[in-house]
């Protein structure tokens, strides 16, 4: 439970951090909250030679609406998000998820950016980002770039970020009059990763027809996944109980869970079906309010 030797570097600015990463090369890792990386280092699953601490960089912690976008700084902690009036009133899906993520002491330190950049399908925020069609803003050697969330997750712990890139901001389409989201995961006990989790974000037009829909899953695939078939089924339609039932079936068929200590593949598929239906109903209820 003691990490292998590493050299600690504290970055004072983004520029400083990126320059450090560039000069230190492949054996350097950024760390912000550290709540994903540190446990792996303590178990010596990860043995980076250099840690670049980016947690003290100013200006990356904010939650605001600007133009058509909700913008959240990558260093915003889960606790800051949990207690944000803006998120509570207009984006309750974040509250759904954060209350089920780890425990308060982890959420006090763990950041939104870290939760996404870790590239772990067991984390909760990736499914939210997929459902809400977020854009990842990253800064690297070549300046700033925007990465659509659908192009962000490449594999187990692998993302579109280059080793020197820092995830700085998340952009999410601003909530419209008739939009709503919901998230739930089944966990074995408090603080656990999901046995299965489902994020749903829905936008209706004035007639109650589904203008846009996002359905994404947690920890039932190697890479955070979107359920395209269920989205296509619902998009452009008035969502009925029958359609919701069908969407649940699609989600349970399309997910890729494996049997493990959290349960059998069949159990997880069944959970995905049940939670998808429940979250569709909950998101619709919120959208109609």
């Amino acid at each position: 439970m003691i990490p292998a030797n590493f050299t600690y570097h504290k970055a004072s600015s983004l520029k400083d951090a990126i320059a450090l990463a560039e000069s230190l090369g492949e054996e350097a890792k950024y760390m912000s909250g550290g709540h994903s990386l540190l446990p792996m280092m303590k178990l010596r699953f990860a043995t980076p030679e250099h840690i670049i601490d980016i947690s003290k960089i100013q200006g990356l912690s904010f939650i605001k609406e600007e133009g058509d976008l909700l913008k959240i700084g990558a260093m915003t902690t889960q606790t800051e998000m949990e207690y944000s009036d803006l998120l509570r009133s207009k984006y309750p899906i974040f509250g759904d998820a954060i209350k089920l993520t780890a425990d308060p002491s982890v959420r006090n330190v763990g950041t939104l950016g870290g939760n996404i950049a870790h590239g772990d399908a067991a984390n909760d925020q990736p499914a939210l980002m997929l459902a809400m069609r977020a854009t990842v803003i990253a800064e690297g050697v070549d300046g700033q770039k925007s990465i659509p969330i659908d192009e962000f997750f490449h594999g187990f712990y692998m993302t579109a970020l280059e080793p020197t890139d820092i995830l700085v901001e998340i952009h999410i389409p601003k909530a419209s009059k008739h939009s709503g989201g919901a998230y739930h995961k089944v966990e074995r006990k408090v603080g656990d990763y999901a046995t299965a989790g489902v994020a749903v974000y829905v936008e209706l037009d004035d007639d109650g027809v589904c203008r846009e829909i996002g359905i994404a899953l947690t920890n039932v695939s190697a890479v955070p996944m979107r359920v395209d078939r269920a989205e296509e089924l619902l998009r452009g339609k008035k969502i009925t109980d029958d359609l919701i039932g069908q969407a649940g079936v699609f989600a349970s068929e399309d997910c890729e869970p494996t049997s493990d200590l959290r349960g059998s593949e069949a159990y997880k598929r069944s959970l995905v079906d049940t939670i998808t239906k429940r979250m569709l109903n909950k998101a619709l209820e919120r959208a109609r309010q």
């Binding site: 439970m1 003691i2 292998a4 030797n5 178990l43 010596r44 089944v186 074995r188 006990k189 408090v190 603080g191 656990d192 990763y193 046995t195 200590l261 959290r262 349960g263 059998s264 069949a266 159990y267 069944s270 959970l271 049940t274």
Partner: protein, 785 residues
Amino acid sequence: MFKCKTSAEVGGMGHSVKRKEDARFLHGKGNYVDDVKLPGMLTMVMVRSPYAYAKIKSINKEKALAIPGVLAVITGEDLAQYNLHWMPTLLSDTQMVLPTDTVMHQAQEVCAVIATDRYIAVDGAEAVDVQYEPMDPIVDPFKALDKDAPLLRPDKEDQKDNQIYHWERGDRAKTDEVIANADVVVKERIHLPRIHVASIETCGCVASYDKDTEKLVVYLTTQAPHAIRTVVALVAGHVGLSEEKIRIISPDIGGGFGGKVPVYPAYVVAIAATFLIGKPVKWIEDRSENLVNGFARDYHMDCELAATKDGKIQAFKVSTLADHGYTDSSANPSKYPTGMFSICTGSYDYEHAFAELDAVYTNKAPGGVAYRCSFRVTEAVHAIERMVDKLAAKIGKDPALLRLENFIKKEQFPYSSPLGWSYDSGDYEATLKKAMDMLGYDDYKKEQAQKRKEGKLMGIGISTFTEVVGAGPSKDFDILGIAMFDSAEIRVHPTGKALARFGTKSQGQGHETTYAQILAEELGIPYTDIEIDEGDTDTAPYGLGTYASRSTPTAGAAAAIAARKLRDKGKKIAAYLLEVSEEDIEWEVGKYFVKGAPEKSKTIQEVVFAAYTNIPPGMEPGFEATHYYDPPNLTFPNGAYICVVEVEKETGAIDVKRFVAIDDCGNIINPMIVEGQVHGGLTQGIAPAMYEGIEYDDEGNVLNGTFMDYLVPTAVESPHWETGHTITPSPHHPLGAKGVAESPTVGAPPAIANAIIDALAPLGIEHLDIPITPAKVWEAIQAHS
């Protein structure tokens, strides 16, 4: 109910005074083993086996020794030079300290790295190059006795297979006959999973040998410091350690639960290391190490319960296969290899029972930690309480009514159980009825009937258990031949304040408060004026330690009797001071007075002062007493627990709606502390019932060796515990008290299991082994629909 004899200021029995030890714990001033820092102290880290069963081909120390700060790598070969590579277990088996040729379970200690600090030691451990030749392990205990199974312990002469022992008690022929002729017989194979105590503080020690004084001091997370001292003297006597030169100090302990009774190999290595190097050596187990060693339970029990068609229980039979891992290191000081398992006949009155058990070796860490349980009582209670519910389901009788009709009656105590125990006291009917009233049992039965009509799954589960604690009478217990008494030594100072020392050792039980309350009760000296000291073998009287809910039954009794000796001495002094004869003196709490003239009196403080200043001629000065108490019998606390659950069909989710726990632990010293014990114990009861269980793969790898996957329930998972008491004093304990800490851990799992299985009964589900998780429930529902 119990009526307090003392004022709140004196704080004797029955007062919920605040715990004296809490201020230092709450202010972060507890002094745990890892807080001990000695000049020149070195750190030890263990290298552990990645394989469950492998030959060790070579251990190369070079790379590790090349790291600056790494001073030594100690292997089994090194210890073999001093014949310290094996050690005996309490149950006549042997356990490796460090292996010379074979590792027998995953995470077994392979060698030790000694370095100047922990960071360097961990790097050193990683640099030790051990070459293994893996072999096929025995993981499934049912395959341990197969003809082609490898012989796991060829080191033991006469060991021809992997059976450790066969044990039985009761009349097999008669029990079989009654079962064969019974109207109704229910059968089930019940498994109690391997679980881990997961105390907040892991195990550890600081061993320090001084070559000049030849004194060995060991700060140790042990529940039984004196027993450890004697064990060390017996095991290491041949290298020159003798008992008067060994001092074991148990500082504050962050939870024991039985996991800090065994002697772990690293303790012995640390002692060997300080002996050889001459500097203090600290070993602190990390969480990953703690979670893959030191297991409890792991009994596979084939049960049969026979009854008449209207539900009169006639006979119980249980045949058990016990998975002990590679050695029988059970922390069991009873004279029976299965401990108190023969309490398995339960709270019911019937004549015939038979219990047998075969213990086998497997390639797993040694089991036998008595996790908050007097040596296999949890297993025993689970077996009988599940079977009684199964019988009720089979004949269609209300499980509460079935129990009420079969209980041992109040007037039958002391009751001789079919397997030979003498239950001291109880009023099982009153206890269950109190639980039913508190719950509103009949209303829930109605609600359940209604819910079942609607297709909903709701269950009510009962457990009416009898515990057996307070180890124990020397006829049933010993450690290396030492009787299981315990001790109290009281010194009252001239100003009327006292210091009392005990052979037990609190790990969170609150002894500094409860022992002071016992003395306050007996002497009338306020509990705040009494210091309690435990855990240092150089100062405390000899005792066997704290586990098995034994402290109140043994050391608590010793305290009362020692105090009564003082009271007798005080009476003589009072008579002298009041110038009357001793027969004319009477005692009421805190003072002596002259019969018929209560205004002529002396307080206990005045009498104590006189013991130092104005001693009656010919009397020995001072005011001190010691007592060693060998109890005449165990105590038999009992309880009635009822659990109500709802199960969601779609997901298998289990919602514990109510949990009512009525305990009968006799007279209560501190109701608040008992309440805390019951809350903690119930949470450790829901743990194996719904969350915990060590899992292995076919290679013998522990699959859930971290807190991410070994699911210790928290306050979030705990239902609202509703507690209460009936009080049936123990007739043989000087205070009428019984042990209590284990009752909730022992009694809760079957209540929860019975409730969940009752909820699933309409689907045709008759049994599930614990832990009963939502995933397991969901699978069972699929299989039955």
